[in-house]
């Protein structure tokens, strides 16, 4: 085998590829690959300035323990869910394929999404937020509804909401006063939580991005992967290991773009391409002492990871629903051997199993979110929901393509995109917070 390959290589270098006209495509591939790794310095965004002095940070209260099992969202949640779902199906779905190809979500859609108040749900009312009490359930319902339109665009829309929720949950008075007004205003900045790092077996509790304490604040070094809208972002929250005298702790840092040492590389992936994911490269990036979020407490980092995973669960549930809703009419209409293919158990049972597993994913996700709001521990529940959404969700993505046969493999149908998007469920960490 090795001998064969060596022989092939010698032939190829001897001009064989020219004879078959293969030189150009090969070069194009090389050209695209090199273009994709062009690193650009980040641009400075708007100036975040404190407009209102806060004496202490504002927090949304928890709703407290609920007495009865209940699967009915409250009126406000139902209204929000319906309007977001209408928006997702009417606007996101038709734009999804082009956004996927362009690796970008149109600004017009991002602005319309902001009008739905996504960035206001996690913000306390006294700071201009939209919801009185902490409601991860509301954000989960909205994320699910958005992903029914398109997961990639949903990520682009929700990334700033993740940052505003993080600032609301863990920001001190100064951090909240500085940044949150922009997230409840008309012109919401692009922003994202940068947690994931580019390596196999990534473990968010063992980061390689390092933060060193200096006289003026911190210096950050490392690489963050698959950061949504990295090129446009006006604010990042970056997770790093803080090297302190008493060892290492994981911590979150507020990082504004434009400073020395901070650059971006485009990093498109197999899916969620509309989210315009990129790598954030930090080389001796200096941030002030006030950039440390949540005082660097370990429980803040853990909560952040849990809430982020929960967001990815909600997106997988919404995408799974899109698959189910698309597959049902297709298998009913598609005929083979003189009857709809849905008349065959092998097809019909696959559809049944998509619905069963999807409902299980959804309920596990809702349970975890509801525990967040009630102030109950939710680490285990998030883990169970995540495992379901990663594994069962991916199976749903794969079955969606399978039910359309060869037609599922071509871009005339969205199932191939959902297949690509669903893999994010088992890979992604960070990027969102619910």
């Amino acid at each position: 085998m090795a001998v064969g390959l060596r022989a092939l290589n010698r032939l190829a270098s001897n001009g064989l590829i020219d004879r078959f006209g293969l030189r150009d495509p090969a070069q194009r591939v090389l050209h695209t690959a090199s273009k994709a790794t062009v690193r650009t310095a980040t641009r400075a965004g708007r100036t975040f300035a404190t407009t209102q002095k806060l004496s202490k940070p504002a927090r949304q209260p928890r709703t407290g323990r609920s007495d009865l099992f209940d699967l009915t969202p409250d009126d406000e949640q139902q209204m929000l869910r319906e309007s977001v779902r209408d928006f997702a199906l009417a606007k996101l779905r038709p734009a999804a394929q082009q956004a996927d190809e362009a690796c970008a979500t149109p600004n017009e859609l991002l602005e319309q999404a902001n009008e739905l108040g996504l960035t206001m749900v996690g913000v306390p009312e006294e700071l201009g937020g939209a919801v009185a009490e902490r409601s991860a359930v509301t954000t989960v319902l909205m994320a699910e509804a958005l992903a029914q339109g398109d997961m990639g665009i949903a990520v682009a829309c929700l990334a700033p909401a993740g940052v505003s929720t993080a600032l609301s949950l863990w920001g001190d008075a100064d951090q909240q006063a500085t940044y949150l007004p922009e997230f409840v205003g008309e012109n919401v900045p692009a922003a994202a939580l940068a947690l994931l790092e580019p390596r196999p077996l990534f473990n968010p509790f063992e980061l390689q991005t390092r933060a060193r304490r200096t006289a003026g604040g911190f210096v950050l070094d490392g690489i963050k992967s698959l950061v949504p809208r990295a090129g446009d972002a006006e604010l990042f929250i970056v997770a790093a290991q803080l090297e302190d005298s008493d060892g290492l702790t994981s911590a979150l840092f507020i990082v504004e773009p434009g400073g020395a040492g901070l650059s971006i590389e485009p990093e498109p992936g197999m899916g969620i391409r509309a989210a315009a994911t990129g790598r954030l490269v930090l080389e001796g990036v200096k941030v002030p002492g006030g950039a440390l979020l949540g005082e660097g407490r370990a429980d803040v980092m853990t909560e952040c990871i849990h809430l982020s995973r929960l967001g990815w669960c909600a997106l997988a549930v919404g995408t799974g629903q899109a698959v189910l809703d698309y597959v049902i009419p297709y298998v009913n209409e598609r005929k083979a051997f003189g009857e709809p293919i849905s008349s065959r158990q092998s097809v019909a049972f696959t559809v049944a199993n998509i619905a069963i597993e999807l409902d299980g994913m959804r309920l596990a996700t809702y349970r975890a979110a509801s525990r967040v709001d009630q102030g109950l521990p939710f680490g285990r529940e998030v883990a169970l929901a995540r495992r379901l959404c990663a594994e069962r969700g991916m199976a749903i993505g794969s079955d969606g393509v399978q039910m359309l046969g060869g037609h599922g493999y071509v871009k005339e149908h969205p199932v191939e995109r959902w297949y690509r998007d669903m893999r994010a469920g088992g890979v992604m960490e960070g990027a969102l917070v619910v």
Binding site: F69, S342, V351, E391
Partner: protein, 410 residues
């Protein structure tokens, strides 16, 4: 407000059911698995205690109400403050049953005065019949040698003769058939008229026309007797027909089938109880072997055994919540036959899968009779079979999702 926690008001019920499961079911589980067909006399005393508790209301869900007994499907005891949301008998029964099956599913199935027959009685009986039959131990006789999942193919006949029906036919797989006081028998008034002519009839166990053919020897749930009967000119008062004697082509069979919307989540609950026992014991044994279950680490950073454990637990959670959903919908009078079948399908296959994987994870300890794991793995398989097999549940789910009739999707 969305909340998927176990309702506080049932915590006491669950803890009582747990005590029964731990103190009575578990200690007797191995004994009656080995000694198939011998009557678990320990349960008589327990039944008396539970009857007493029922009057106090504490175990109404776990005991009699669990399988449609004294506080069956029609009972609306639990009034909730928020009138738009009800957590009632269906959830209570589910929680109680799950807990008891954590103890032993075979013994649960042979609890005196329990039995699925009461679910059918509660679903279609009139007031007079409820008075006569309520609270008795009632078994359910549906399956025939030539009619399993296709209950519309039932051949047992019921012929009106004066004031009596005369039943003739053969019934198999009657759970608690030997020990029950009543057998609810499905029979047809007119085979030519198909499903609509199928009705349920209450037969007293000591009716001379009801002849016990044999007791089955089974893979599991050996504490529970499974009887095969011959009905030979079995005469019963015509008032023992449950529901309407009219043959209504449009809705006759639907009424009978509705029973399943309430009982399928309960069987799913049994599966959840057994598989929780498997998970708990396996976790203890894995801990002794030095396996730590860390929910925060990515799966690939865990030991394979820990990762597999969390995968099993996540499927278990999905099955459990699907089942709670179906019961909650029943409590709130929402049509739930889709969700009931989804719960039954997911719980039946998940529980079997979990039980078998737990045996494998624990090696010879799991396989041997020194632990209950091997027994649970045998017991649990029935829960993916009775009250509609996995395949029947998938058919029901698929037909509803795809808008197909039983003729269009066979």
């Amino acid at each position: 407000m969305i909340n998927l926690e176990t309702p506080k008001k049932f915590e006491f019920l669950v803890s009582q059911a747990h005590q029964v499961a731990a103190e009575i079911f578990r200690p007797n589980a191995r004994k009656y698995d080995g000694d198939e067909h011998s009557y678990p006399k320990e349960l008589d005393m327990l039944a008396a205690v539970i009857d007493g508790m029922n009057e106090g209301g504490a175990l109404s869900g776990a005991g009699a109400g669990a399988v449609g007994g004294g506080n069956g499907a029609k009972a609306t005891k639990a009034k909730d403050k928020d009138s738009s949301n009800r957590n009632g008998t269906n959830i209570a029964s589910l929680l109680g049953l799950t807990e008891l099956c954590w103890g032993d599913v075979g013994l649960l199935l042979t609890m005196p005065r329990q039995g699925l027959g009461q679910a059918a009685i509660a679903a279609v009986a009139d007031e007079e019949q409820l008075g006569r039959f309520g609270g008795k131990w009632a078994a359910m006789a549906i399956t025939e040698p030539e009619a399993g999942s296709d209950s519309a193919a039932i051949r047992t006949t019921a012929t009106l003769d004066g004031d009596e029906y005369v039943l003739n036919g053969e019934k198999i797989f009657v759970t608690a058939g030997d020990r029950a006081e009543l057998i609810v028998v499905w029979a047809t008034l007119d085979r030519k008229q198909g499903r609509a002519a199928i009705k349920s009839f209450v037969v007293e166990r000591d009716n001379p026309g009801l002849i016990l053919e044999r007791l089955e020897h089974k893979l599991g749930i050996r504490a529970s007797d499974t009887a095969d009967f011959r009905l030979e000119n079995c005469r019963i008062p015509k008032e023992n027909l449950l529901g309407s004697p009219e043959i209504e082509p449009k809705r006759g069979f639907a009424g009978v089938m509705q029973t399943f919307d309430n009982t399928r989540p309960l069987v799913a609950g049994m599966a959840i109880g057994v598989s929780r026992a498997c998970l708990e014991r396996t976790r203890e044994l894995l801990a002794e072997a030095g396996v730590e279950i860390d929910y925060d680490l990515p799966p690939h950073s865990l030991l394979a055994a820990a990762s597999e454990f969390i995968a099993m637990e996540s499927d278990w959670e999905a099955a459990r919540l699907l089942t709670m959903q179906a019961a909650w919908m029943a409590d709130n009078k929402k049509p739930n036959s889709l969700q009931a079948s989804m719960a039954k399908a997911k719980a039946g296959r998940t529980a079997t899968d979990i039980a078998l994987r737990c045996v494998a994870l624990c090696g010879s300890i799991g396989f041997g009779e020194g632990e209950l794991l091997e027994k649970w793995a045998r017991d649990v398989k029935i829960l993916d079979l009775f009250e509609g097999t996995q395949q029947i549940q998938l058919l029901i789910v698929a037909r509803q999702l795809l808008g197909k009739t039983s003729a269009e999707l066979k």
